[in-house]
């Protein structure tokens, strides 16, 4: 099992109250599958994703990565080498070119520059962008193109787990379809574990497994293909 959550809980304090965002969640994720986590706004989907990405520490329970407790791992190394995160609003560096954005995580894991360049160009092509995009800044790209760059960046390090937070939230239907196709091919074609938090029924329909979050609880395993 690539990633497993066992009785995971998480709460945070706002100005007026304590929010129990995730309550006793247990689930498992395997390589080669596309997972969708669906639910209403405020149900705790993104918080669950943050816990899996190592951006937050669970209050209770345990998250295991390849059988190791996530809390025992170096969180920076975990985010650098094991998981890649794709955001709804892309979160590209606005002042770096497409190529520089994609090369950034490769620089962090000390990939030699020439090799990093080669990998970056390769993944940029893989997400359907040609080399002419390499020198462009994110502001020169459409939303769909920016999301492709974000996916290319996630692919570049070869991370086994890809976490995507509403990756199609800012895209039109055509681009949504393309991105779904990309994520599906990553899961099925490259044997990666792709976990997508989404409102989008199209994404949910394309997923191999769908989890539903409701008030912090993973209440229903909706569908298994």
């Amino acid at each position: 099992m690539l990633l497993s959550l066992n009785d995971v809980s998480f709460s945070y304090r706002t100005k007026y109250q304590t929010v129990n965002a995730v309550k006793n969640v247990s689930c498992e994720f395997e390589a080669g599958r596309l997972y969708a986590v669906v639910g209403k706004s405020g149900s705790g989907k993104t918080t669950l994703l943050s816990l899996m990405a190592g951006l937050a520490r669970p209050d209770g329970g345990a998250i295991s990565v390849d059988g190791k407790d996530l809390l025992s791992l170096d969180p920076d190394a975990y985010r650098r080498d094991t998981v890649s995160i794709i955001y709804q609003n892309f979160n590209l560096f606005p002042l770096l070119t497409v190529l520089e954005n994609v090369m950034y995580p490769l620089g962090l894991n000390k990939t030699p520059k020439q090799e990093a360049l080669k990998i970056a160009v390769e993944v940029i092509k893989k997400v359907g962008l040609d080399e002419s995009y390499c020198k462009r800044l994110p502001s020169m790209l459409s939303g769909g193109e920016q999301q492709r760059v974000a996916i290319a960046r996630a692919l570049a390090t070869g991370a086994q787990t890809i976490l995507a937070d509403e990756p199609t939230g800012n895209l039109d239907s055509e681009n949504t379809e393309n991105i779904i196709g990309l994520l599906t091919s990553l899961a099925h074609g490259e044997n990666r574990c792709v976990i997508v938090v989404t409102h989008d029924q199209n994404v949910a329909d394309a997923a191999d497994t769908v989890y539903r979050m409701d008030s912090g609880r993973l209440t229903e395993e909706a569908r298994e293909i």
Binding site: S41, Y104, L108
Partner: protein, 405 residues
């Protein structure tokens, strides 16, 4: 890769230039401020050069041409010109205090149809009337009036022409000199003028103080002065001068009540007052002291404010990349690395700002280069930037990437 990020920030935005200029300007302002304070200190030093005049007056405070100063008071001013060792009190020598001493005494003379006063001076400037007159000396006689070895005698142009002989030379004149205008106790004296003055309506004769004093002694009296005034040589010695003056003179007193001199060994009353006109110097000094006190008081406040502004500017400069840092952290960049690279960036900016501050301070003359003040501003900026980076890399810093839940 982090360097690529910094490089692109430097090349594709110019906000760093604004921060650099701001920090440099703050550092320079400290130099400017210190320069203004130093300038005021310099002006205070120079204020001691404002001429201070000493004038001897009567006790009532009125300056007069007939003060009748004699005895120890007079010798205190001109003792180096007179033998005073046999006086009953050893006078304090006031002359070293003065750059320009103006002592004047006058007698009366008559020579044929010419008559008027015979005036002895320590300096030509001692006579107010002569300051506007043109003085013409005979060839080879234009030596310093007081220090000349031959007696310098200046008469009116009319008198001078009367003494001119057929060959164009000047002959001696016999004059009767006395202390009263009626010349009842007169002394006959042969004088040969060394020059003449023009532009005055009188026929007064001007000679050196020594000659006049000798004439008075020949008439059986002690030399006296009609007026004494002087310019203080070194204003830093005013206190010492005042103390020495107190042996012979009191301060002007409108009641004109004679006062006993407590310094005198015998019963002795002050006859004249000494007035030191240092009002301009004192007022100037007081104003400058006030200014310096204000500047010195403001200096630490402005320094603190500048450090605060510098630190805040650097803090917000780094805080602007909050999202970028969050992205870096989400991609696995270590927080220590972000802080280190931020510190390096701030160091480069601060070093450039330091150089710019120094250059600007050196180029503008009023500035005083204060390395420590500039460094303090730079260090504040460095600290502000590093603290900002520290805040951005906290665990919660990545939270901004969360858009939904």
């Amino acid at each position: 890769m982090q360097l690529t990020y910094l490089k692109s920030r430097f090349l594709r935005t110019y906000i760093w230039a604004a921060l650099l200029c701001l920090i440099a300007a703050l550092g320079w302002f400290q130099c400017f401020f210190a320069g203004v304070a130093a300038q005021k200190e310099l002006e205070r030093e120079k204020a001691y050069d404002i001429p201070v005049e000493l004038v001897i007056t009567d006790l009532g405070g009125t300056s007069s041409d007939r003060l009748g100063i004699s005895g120890v008071e007079l010798w205190a001013f001109i003792k180096d010109k007179e033998n005073v060792t046999d006086l009953w009190i050893i006078p304090r020598d006031l002359r070293p205090y003065f750059g320009e001493l103006r002592v004047k005494t006058s007698l009366y003379y008559k020579s044929g149809e010419m008559s008027g006063r015979l005036i002895g001076l320590t300096d030509l400037n001692a006579e107010e009337a002569l300051r506007g007159a043109e003085i013409v000396f005979s060839d080879g006689e234009d030596a310093d009036f007081e220090s000349s070895k031959s007696p310098q005698i200046i008469v009116s142009e009319r008198f001078f022409e009367k003494l001119r002989d057929e060959s164009g030379g000047i002959s001696e004149a016999s004059v009767a000199v006395g202390t009263d205008s009626g010349l009842q106790n007169a002394f006959e004296l042969a004088v040969k003028p060394t020059g003449y003055y023009t532009g005055l309506s009188t026929d007064d004769i001007y000679c050196s103080w020594n000659l006049a004093a000798d004439i008075i002694r020949s008439l059986g009296e002690e030399p006296y002065a009609d007026s004494i005034s002087a310019t203080v040589k070194d204003n830093g010695e005013l206190d010492a001068l005042k103390e020495d003056l107190s042996y012979y003179f009191t301060e002007a007193d409108p009641t004109e009540t004679p006062k006993r001199n407590p310094n005198a060994v015998a019963l002795y009353y002050y006859k004249n007052a000494a007035v030191i006109h240092d009002e301009l110097m004192r007022n100037t000094l007081m104003t400058l002291e006030r200014n310096i006190a204000v500047l010195n008081g403001l200096f630490p406040i402005t320094a603190a404010l500048e450090c605060l502004v510098s630190a805040a500017a650097a803090y917000f400069y780094i805080a602007l990349r909050r999202r970028d840092v969050a992205i870096m952290r989400s991609l696995g960049t270590k927080s220590a690395f972000v802080i280190a690279i931020t510190a390096a960036e701030m160091f480069v900016i601060c070093a450039a700002a330091f150089a710019l501050s120094l250059a600007a301070a050196a180029a503008i003359p009023i500035c005083e280069i204060k390395i420590s003040s500039i460094l303090l501003v730079e260090l504040s900026a460095l600290l502000g930037g590093v603290v900002s980076a520290g805040v951005l890399t906290r665990r919660g810093g990545i939270e901004i990437l969360k858009e939904n839940d």
